[in-house]
Symmetry: C2
Subunit: 325 residues, 2 copies
């Protein structure tokens, strides 16, 4: 179970390795939202998403007898790149298991970050079997994407920074909107703010049709998504909140918010025009809620996390074409 | 004449007001450049460019008897927005004199930042006459875009941050590439680094066909551009290095570098894909030199400043279409 002490310890291990991302503001966004908007630009983290924090935290916490053997992860997205770079900087091997139909650029990027990519056929092979065989054979440790206390502790360092940076701007009371997939980032930030900024309340944000966390919070029990494909917000689509993350979300978070895909694209265009940062659709849902669903939010200030910026170029160009001011 | 003491004093006045922009890195850019690349993302500054620093420095240095009357500037670009926002946050009036054919979005943005925009007809009116009459009538102080010691001191705070942030990354020796128009940012950074990071050497970067500073440095005397329009790098096109800035550039800077417009667009696409920041063409020329003219640079590490991110959306989309990896 992740504690504030574990998050502080992760922050110590991350110091000088993860980037302290800026908390950005714009008078134009304040006007659009009708309140002060503070944006934690985690898209500026190494590998373009918060995932580097959790990966670094987990790898740096491995015991000295197992760490040198290396790590393994299943991912074709942000978690893959975070684990690949964190392992490379630790000087340990990383194996990333990806479907063979993953976009070529993601496979290439993960390799360039120093990982060994093992491809499998989604139709005929099981990634779990392949991964288990490799882990057994080489003594690799599995780094889970969210349901792991040390991963949650790493993501929680984002919350420590939010507490400090918001205080510098005079903000102690605010709802904190976080793009939510499996809940690693959301639960980590919630734990950090519970201890360091008790005037803040975290609210998970999801895309329409993939609102498992909002429904789970409303019902008090883990609910699943009907489907896992077909969203432009693919970076934050997971089957359901995690077994480890959900109890934290349930205890600490306010009701979930849900935005449309067009809201996410519109938010990408605002981040481009007003903040000069690149957001991916899934990473932009919290800013979308802050800007376009202000009636569902309370308080004089709102904090939105942009969780990643790894967006396909054609989709990004489309977002700007349709929504840039 | 701007001194390191003036830059330090400007940094004190800017603290808590200007943003300490991050120094970003990417292993992909290191590989492309063949050396370590550190990128000072000044596009993340308030109003999307470094100009906010110089404007804040100049306004905050005005004597208490003149400051409340307000300020005036001639600009349709980044300087206008920097002065407008800095004046607004000081609670003093700002008049920005702009040509009536300036893009509507720039006029609107400057007004939304709290300034009074006075339009003039480029064909029939003189902005100097209009400005002088307004300044006389209302007691406004002119904030020059670069040829002013307090403006240079404000831009020089970028250099103080570069020295500190590069030291944190273990870099003390490097060429520092800076997009150069009138030379305010370049001379300010050069003065700051002379005092705080003597192992670094500043080199101005300009677009082809508008290389007044490179030619001035080569000849030892101020040279002019043949023309002032027709560049996509419009944010850094000025008639010639300034009377105040050029002696500083001449004393402290290495030879100028020149890049093509395609280099600038390519650099924009790399900043998008690898750093997740939005660069404007003029703001991207230094990164372009670092990435695509590595043979003209020396040392194991290079530092490039992205000076602004206020780019027209269609041009940005074009840069991504042509050059995004």
């Amino acid at each position: 179970m992740t504690s504030i002490a574990m998050i502080e310890a992760a922050a110590d291990r991350l110091r000088g390795h993860a980037r302290r991302t800026p908390l950005l503001t714009s008078p134009f966004l304040d006007e659009l939202a009708g309140r002060r908007v503070l944006v934690k630009a985690e898209c500026l983290q190494h590998t373009g998403s918060f995932k580097f924090r959790g990966a670094w935290s987990a790898i740096s916490a491995l015991p000295p007898e197992t760490r040198p053997r290396g790590v393994i992860a299943f991912s074709s997205g942000n978690h893959a790149q975070g684990v690949a770079m964190a392992a490379h900087l630790h000087g340990v091997p990383a194996v990333i298991v990806m479907p063979s139909d993953a976009p070529r650029i993601k496979i290439d990027n993960t390799r360039e970050l120093g990982a060994e990519v093992v491809l499998y056929d989604r139709a005929t092979e099981s990634r779990e079997e392949i991964g288990a065989a490799l882990a057994e054979e080489r003594g690799l440790t599995l780094i889970k994407p969210y349901d792991d206390p040390q991963v949650i502790a790493g993501q929680g360092t984002t919350g420590l920074e939010i507490a400090e940076q918001a205080a510098e701007l005079g903000v102690a009371q605010a709802q904190v909107l976080v793009p939510c997939g499996g809940g690693g980032l959301t639960s980590g930030i919630a734990l950090a703010l519970e201890a360091r900024a008790p005037g803040m309340r975290v609210r998970p944000v999801e895309p329409e049709g993939f609102d498992d966390t909002a429904r789970s919070l409303a019902s008090g029990r883990i609910q699943h998504n009907d489907r896992l494909i077909g969203s432009i917000c693919d970076a934050i689509i997971t089957p359901a909140p995690g077994q480890v993350t959900f109890p934290i979300l349930k205890r600490l978070c306010g009701p979930g918010l849900v935005v449309s895909e067009d809201d996410a694209l519109h938010s990408i265009a605002q981040a481009f025009a007003r903040l000069k940062v690149v957001a991916e659709p899934g990473g932009a849902v919290a800013l979308a809620a802050a800007l376009f669903h202000a009636d569902q939010i309370e308080g004089e200030a709102v904090i939105a996390v942009i969780s990643g910026g790894n967006v396909d170029t054609p989709l990004y160009r489309k977002a700007l074409e349709r929504f840039a001011p």
